[in-house]
């Protein structure tokens, strides 16, 4: 009772101290305002305009545009690409991270740098290098033609170039984490007689699952949104090899603004979900 009473008495003064501490200077208020206004104008408005234009003519118009057959096909192809590419990238990321964090070997740093290369290459260059490998003018062109295999301007070309541009996404999340965690847990499991796979699934995976998912979410956003590289290797054939970003550009070039924004809003929604998942997964990953 005594302590509760003193606590109640004490409260106003604590509050006063808090407000005193919270009193902001002119510069602080000015900087906060400037930051809020600039972020809203620079980052918030481009996002808002997509939804405003997509739904500006009413939900029926939006629905009609989004269910237009070539747009529907583009949505399907984009999802299919993500379904194919993201799991492959996850397996690759786990392999790279395991090899470079659980073992020491010469050229280790070089290997990590090599994995990062696609991140620094322009999407346009990514498209061009694939064209000069699989295209009719390319290195394997004559061989592929002789065997009647067509890769360029087909759906597999989209998969391949997406694998290139997303190469580092999962690996760069796992490597620093697994480096910090060290080998001890796995070594204990192995010495207790667990097999390599058991060790991975019961010891390593629970420790890295959030970072792995986080990497996969970022990889997914990049795959679904890739534009430059896909526009070169896919040929952007409408209703066949046109992914959502390419479909958006074609609709925009046709002066079909509502259609372009309706298609774009699906990707903007995907971006919002990505940010939400990023927020959740980051909190999980850091406890």
């Amino acid at each position: 009772m005594q302590s509760a009473a003193s606590l109640a008495v004490g409260r106003p003064s604590v509050q006063a101290a808090r407000t005193r501490k919270k009193k902001r200077g002119f510069w602080q208020v000015a900087l906060i305002l400037l930051a809020v206004v600039l972020s809203a104008l620079f980052l918030g408005v481009p996002l808002a305009v997509v939804f405003a234009y997509a739904f500006g003519s009413g939900i029926e118009v939006f629905w009609r545009e989004i269910t237009e057959p070539t747009t529907l096909h583009a949505i399907g192809l984009t999802v299919l690409t993500a379904v194919v590419v993201v799991p492959i990238n996850m397996v690759f990321g786990i392999c790279v991270a395991w090899a470079v964090t659980r073992f020491r070997f010469p050229g280790r740093r070089l290997l990590i740098t090599f994995v990062e290369i696609p991140f620094s290459v322009s999407p346009i260059v990514a498209g061009v290098i694939y064209l000069f490998l699989y295209g009719s003018q390319g290195l394997l062109g004559p061989f592929l033609e002789a065997h009647d295999i067509k890769i360029m301007f087909t759906v597999p070309a989209i998969f391949l170039v997406s694998l290139f541009v997303t190469c580092p996404f999962v690996a760069r999340e796992l490597i620093p984490l697994m480096e910090v965690q060290g080998n001890e847990d796995e070594e204990a499991a192995i010495s207790l007689g667990a097999t390599g796979l058991q060790t991975f699934f019961y010891v390593t995976l629970p420790n890295i699952k959030w970072a792995l998912l986080y990497g996969a979410v970022l990889c997914n956003a990049r795959v679904m949104g890739e534009f430059g590289a896909t526009s070169i290797v896919s040929g952007a054939i409408r209703g066949k090899t046109s992914t959502l970003p390419l479909q958006v550009e074609q609709l925009f070039n046709d002066y079909n603004t509502v259609g372009a924004f309706a298609a774009a809003s699906t990707l903007a929604f995907m971006a919002l979900v990505t940010l939400l998942l990023k927020y959740v997964l980051e909190r999980r990953a850091h406890g």
Binding site: A35, P46, C95, R102, L111, Q137, F164, C167, L267
Partner: protein, 280 residues
């Protein structure tokens, strides 16, 4: 597949052969082989043809425009990034979490969607354009639009490199400076700035590198006029469209070499930043 012949530190863990095998196979098929194919293609042109393509008037114009707009974009991001990082780390205010989340938007939003949104906002009848055009500020279909598109798509770099360094800054030095009578601006200039500068430089270099290769956002907003609003990545795309493969290969090679130089630069800056952080 591979045994580990160089065991500098003995590891009892299995899986080196399999994971290393998968890693190398993937890197060879997905990364090295296509890169090699383009290098071979470019080499087959011969030096004289390569040089005449990459130094043609139109190509030179694209380098000027690309470098100029990327420099403006980096300046925008450097100031905007520093401000946002500072405010997010130092102050508490309502909506702070929302802004922190919004910072990552440019990496989550496809570049083509960013381009579509920006050209719509800045076009003559757009939300911003209707006020800017009467003032004589032309953004859409002008170099400024390219710079803004580049700035948007690479906005998170400076913020996300400076933010953690600002957070880790211990405040004893700062308090010491304050006790000795330094004014807030002097504390920033002489105490905080030197400590965050390497990270700031690394973020700016990443932003610049990303801007040099940007395509998706620019193609919507630039208007693509040769000698005026044509960046190098766009010229590569146009040459491909014209089935002029030698030109596309040579110009893409220039972009690739510049990308590698930028990768080297950012790695050196980041190594410096790391040493700097360990020392302080």
């Amino acid at each position: 597949m591979f045994s580990n012949p160089f065991k500098t530190r003995k590891s009892v863990l299995p899986g080196f052969g399999v994971t290393m095998g998968v890693t190398l196979l993937y890197l060879i098929i997905i990364v090295a082989l296509p890169l090699a194919a383009m290098v071979l293609k470019t080499a087959s042109l011969g030096w004289a043809e390569f040089w005449s393509i990459v130094t043609s008037e139109r190509a030179l114009a694209t380098y000027r425009i690309t470098l100029g707009t990327a420099a403006i974009a980096t300046l925008i991001n450097a100031s905007f990034g520093l401000l946002i990082a500072w405010v997010l780390v130092r102050y508490e205010f309502p909506g702070k979490r929302l802004i922190d989340a919004l910072v990552d938007l440019p990496f989550a939003l496809p570049t083509a969607i960013a381009g579509l949104a920006l050209v719509t906002v800045f076009s003559r009848n757009g939300w911003f354009g209707q006020y800017l055009e009467p003032l004589g500020i032309k953004v859409a279909y002008a170099p400024l639009g390219i710079a803004i598109a580049m700035a948007f798509t690479s906005a998170p770099f400076v913020i996300r490199t400076v933010q953690p360094v600002l957070e880790d800054l211990s405040d004893d030095v700062e308090q010491a400076a304050q006790t000795l009578g330094a004014r807030p601006w002097q504390v920033f200039r002489h105490v905080i700035w030197p400590m965050i500068f390497p990270a700031f430089l690394a973020g700016s270099a990443l932003s610049f590198a990303r801007s040099l290769g940007e395509f998706g956002a620019i193609v919507f907003i630039s208007g693509n006029l040769p000698f005026k609003t044509e960046v190098t990545s766009l010229l590569v795309f146009i040459r491909l469209d014209e089935f002029d493969y030698p030109s596309a290969a040579a110009l893409a090679m220039v972009m690739l070499i510049v990308a590698f130089l930028m990768l080297l630069t950012t790695n050196l800056i980041q190594a410096w930043q790391l040493r700097y952080a360990e020392r302080s």
